[in-house]
């Protein structure tokens, strides 16, 4: 086919009154046929190849001198055979006088589409297969259709439109307009259509937009084609001279050339204005794709295809999650749609799989906007569908002197108080710090959602709330420790305020009792924050600074008891919790075995480990002999957990820490406990900072063997750490100066050593080594890491007794020196 001949035909067709779009469609069809022929003649290489038309050619609006934009997509890497194929395909086109803009990509390029240049991605939105492998082509388009890539292209398109319009001073009223690039030109027509394709297919169906756009496009295509033919090149500017010529050729009315030009340009400006208006409306109304069938508009996050979403309740939570992520509301239309259909579905329809239920928990993490999204969810009936007990307190009125809101709003306000702590540290900085330290803050929100559901009855609402929550939590896959924690929080949500505000917290017995109830620092933080959020949600000003101080004071006293004073409270056989643990043991464990294991360990042990873990520890302790260690190493969510039972010996704790450090492990949390018979139970949680365990299949066994060797005395931690020490110390930590504080009075049996220092690799090893170097025995250890700060509490003795003041000073000096040297 000769291009000049084909181009001449377009001109004749247009001047004879033919539609511009139809003429160009025929022209594109002829090019297609030529490419199909050349593709076959070029003998495609062995691998899959697809030839796709892009841009105006893809839309079948190929103007006479426009570039023929071709995407040549290969299934694999491009080598010599592919290069030869490209030459055989492209050279004949160039020789014939066509201007070909070609892009060569392989399958891997398409897999990383969002990293590609925006112009290419936009061109791809009009891609049309001309020849070759349709599967390969569909695969590329599927990658293009993901919400992430569409959102990326959408943003890029918006930016390109703004940049292009700025080049024309953002006005379409140009005396010599560029028919393609100017505002209201062909690029804007294409942009409006692309916006619709990327977001909402029905975007242009409003009113007469689609019809006006099609008419304007046809007009512009006719003009552009004639300009091309007059200029014999890809020139799109409708200059003065050509205006005069085209006005005559197209038969515009007027006695003079000037009048005919004015008639032509009047029509041009009318058409361009129509395009600009349609594009503007599309830009305002187009939902930015954020997730499957979800888009963001100025009204917020909404379903793109509402009828489809109405039948898919499992997609509803995603709308609220996307709104939370984007910091906007869920659109009124979407809330209305959910409101209309929510009664048709049960909780199992909304949260049908474990993945959906896990998504709900993630959604509940306190952050900016959570209160607003939960309120929307409540308002449209979805919250009551997901958490049925919540329905029981909707608009529930409890008349008392204090509460200012209905029970449901009080609950949501309590969550709002947590959200405020998460967003702005001041003015409740100390409580905000606690919130940041929580391992699973979403459990606190779930507990708050449920804490007052029992108020649908007038009796003891906390117990009723617990009863209602139990069944719900099972349905949400919340079990084990998280479930126990939530039920604990609900059952005791009034307890901390009662103790803080109404009991004498200077009485050590009151603090001891409260500590026994709470059991662990994590639960204490949760209950403290729950109390704060709950009291502050009763009404404005209910939580005064005065109350805050009382609450904080009880928190600190209890925290100190749990971390510094717990060593004196030991498990006795007759203790109810121990007896229950023995009574409910599994069949493979003997009653005496369990009781002997428990006796003499700190009572804290029964509160921080559930029965399943305790029985596992008992099994590990079976038949343990001196110099032996029984171990278990397993992944636990984002960390690794090492459980270790052995018999006590000098330097033991330091050696174990040293081995873990030698593999680059960073110990985050843990407990080390010793019973009066010298049985040692250590549980460490650590990160595999150097990915030794992750990258080496046999690595867990290597770590375990190294621990066995060190405990048995076959090697030492110092040997293993040689060469690593200097490297570890070079890493300068950030944060407050380190503190090493010895308390000789907190415990009857132990000297308590508290270390608060910037977390560095090997820190725990160096501390425990310094303690052992002073001939002190480490009996109990609590290890925690809050952000970048390590907080470790050691209960130590020397020759079976507390340290003398002189020993305390010497040890403190060693540690302070070591910690400061570490900085």
């Amino acid at each position: 086919m000769l291009p000049d001949e084909a181009r001449r035909e377009i001109g004749l067709e247009i001047l004879s009154g033919e539609s511009g779009a139809a003429a160009l469609d025929r022209y594109a069809g002829r090019i297609d046929a030529e490419i199909v022929r050349l593709h076959a003649a070029a003998r495609p290489p062995g691998q899959a190849v697809a030839l796709a038309a892009l841009g105006g050619y893809g839309r079948r609006h190929l103007c006479p001198y426009s570039d023929i934009d071709l995407l040549i997509l290969f299934g694999g890497p491009v080598g010599d055979a592919e290069e030869r194929f490209l030459r055989r395909l492209l050279h004949p086109l160039w020789d014939a006088g066509f201007i070909v803009g070609h892009q060569v990509r392989d399958r891997d390029d398409v897999a990383r589409l969002e990293a590609d240049n925006p112009e290419f991605l936009l061109a791809l939105s009009d891609a049309r297969l001309v020849a070759g492998d349709s599967m390969l082509f569909e695969e590329a388009l599927a990658a293009f259709r993901t919400p992430r890539v569409r959102a990326h292209v959408f943003t890029a398109l918006e930016r390109l439109i703004d940049t292009r319009h700025a080049q024309f001073n953002e006005t379409l009223y140009q005396l010599e307009p560029d028919l393609k690039e100017a505002p209201g030109g062909l690029r804007d027509v294409s942009a409006a259509r692309t916006l619709a394709a990327l977001t909402d297919g029905a975007l242009l169906d409003r009113g007469e937009d689609a019809g006006r756009l099609a008419q304007a496009e046809d007009f512009l295509l006719r003009l552009r084609s004639l300009v091309h033919l007059e200029r014999r090149r890809n020139d799109n500017v409708l200059g003065h001279e050509i205006q005069e010529k085209l006005a005559g050729l197209l038969g515009y009315a007027g006695a003079s050339a000037r009048q005919r030009v004015e008639a032509l340009m009047a029509e041009y400006f009318g058409r361009a204005r129509a395009v600009a208006r349609v594009l503007d409306r599309a830009r305002r109304g187009a939902p930015v794709p954020v997730a499957e069938n979800l888009g963001r508009t100025r009204d917020g996050i909404g379903f793109i295809d509402a009828p489809k979403a109405a039948a898919q309740p499992e997609t509803w939570l995603a709308a609220f999650q996307s709104a939370l992520d984007a910091g906007v509301s869920v659109s009124d239309g979407t809330l209305d749609a959910i409101r209309r259909h929510v009664d048709r579905f049960a909780v199992g329809d909304v949260l049908p799989t474990a993945r959906h239920r896990a998504a709900l928990l993630r959604f509940l993490a306190p952050r900016q906007g959570l209160y607003a999204r939960l309120s929307e969810m409540h308002d449209c009936g979805l919250l009551g569908r997901i958490i049925p007990p919540f329905q029981a307190i909707t608009c529930r009125v409890i008349r008392d002197f204090y509460h200012k809101y209905t029970v449901d709003e009080h609950t949501l306000q309590a969550i709002r108080n947590l959200e405020r702590l998460a967003v702005e540290s001041e003015p409740r900085h100390r409580f905000a710090t606690l919130l940041r330290e929580l391992e699973s803050p979403e459990l606190l929100v779930l507990a708050l959602l449920l804490h007052d559901v029992g108020k649908w009855r007038d009796e003891d609402h906390a117990e009723e709330s617990v009863r209602m929550a139990e069944a719900l939590l099972d349905g949400l896959d919340v079990s084990g420790v998280p479930k126990d924690t939530i039920l604990f929080l609900i059952r005791h949500h009034l307890r901390m305020s009662q103790v803080a505000f109404r009991r004498d917290t200077e009485d050590p017995e009151i603090v001891r009792e409260f500590s026994a109830l709470v059991g662990s620092e994590e639960r204490l933080k949760l209950l403290c924050l729950m109390t704060l959020a709950d009291v502050a949600a009763v009404g404005p000003g209910t939580l005064s600074k005065w109350n805050e101080d009382l609450l904080w004071r009880l928190y600190v006293d209890t925290y100190n008891y749990l971390t510094v004073q717990y060593g004196d409270d030991l498990i006795e056989r007759t203790q109810a919790a121990a007896a229950e643990c023995v009574a409910r043991r599994p069949a493979d464990l003997d009653a005496g075995e369990v009781a002997a294991f428990l006796e003499g360990l700190p009572r804290r042990y029964l509160q921080v480990f559930d029965r399943h873990a305790i029985y596992h520890h008992v099994r590990l302790a079976r038949d343990i002999h001196p110099d032996e260690v029984h171990l278990r190493l397993e992944p636990a969510e984002s960390v690794w957990e090492l459980t270790l039972v052995t018999l006590d010996k000098p330097m033991l704790f330091a050696s174990i820490c040293g081995v873990l450090s030698s593999f680059g492990m960073d110990i985050l949390r843990g407990h080390a406990m010793t019973n009066p018979n010298g049985l040692v139970l250590d549980v460490f949680q650590f990160t595999d900072a150097e990915r030794f365990l992750a990258l080496n299949p046999g690595a867990p066994d290597i770590v375990l063997h190294a621990l066995e060797d060190v405990v048995a005395g076959r090697s030492t931690a110092i040997d293993r750490l040689r060469g690593r020490q200097s490297g570890l110390r070079r890493r300068r930590p950030a944060g407050d100066p380190p503190v090493a504080r010895v308390d000789g009075g907190a415990s009857r049996k132990y000297t308590v050593l508290e270390i608060v220092a910037p977390d560095t690799p090997g820190l725990l090893y160096r501390i425990s080594h310094a303690i052992a170097a002073r001939d002190c025995a480490i009996d109990l250890v609590l290890i925690s890491t809050e952000g970048q700060t390590a907080i470790d509490v050691f209960h130590i003795t020397k020759d079976g007794a507390k340290l003398t003041p002189a020993d305390q000073r010497a040890l403190t000096g060693d540690l302070q020196h070591m910690l400061e040297d570490n900085e």
Binding site: F501, W546, V556
Partner: protein
């Protein structure tokens, strides 16, 4: 008439209220206050660091009584609010010249 102004531990308000009720004294004003007397606050330790709690939370109970039962009321407050430890608080006794009921304009004798 006397105005008894008692600064007491927060957890002792109910005990003081009950003790005064036994003397048929029911009207009182309770205010959350912060301050220190001989107790002068204390040093608390949190995560190895000391910090000063200079102003302690206290409750201020104000009650106006006739001269005839003032002594008895003071004793009741002291007994109810006492723990024997530093920080139990103080009772101040102030003379009251006149008192009027706002609703009726009636003057108390």
């Amino acid at each position: 008439m006397k105005l008894l102004k008692a600064i007491i531990r927060p957890n002792k308000v109910d005990d003081v209220k009950d003790a005064l009720a036994k003397l048929n004294i029911s009207g009182m004003t309770v205010t959350e206050v912060r301050g220190h007397g001989k107790q002068k606050g204390h040093t608390a330790i949190y995560r190895g660091k000391e910090y000063n709690v200079s102003l302690l939370p206290k409750m201020q109970v104000e009650v106006v009584v006739t001269n005839t039962i003032a002594e008895e009321a003071i004793l009741a407050i002291v007994e109810a609010a006492r723990t024997g430890e530093i920080g139990d608080g103080r009772v101040f006794v102030l003379p009251v010249e006149q008192s009027y009921r706002i609703r009726t304009g009636e003057r108390d004798l």
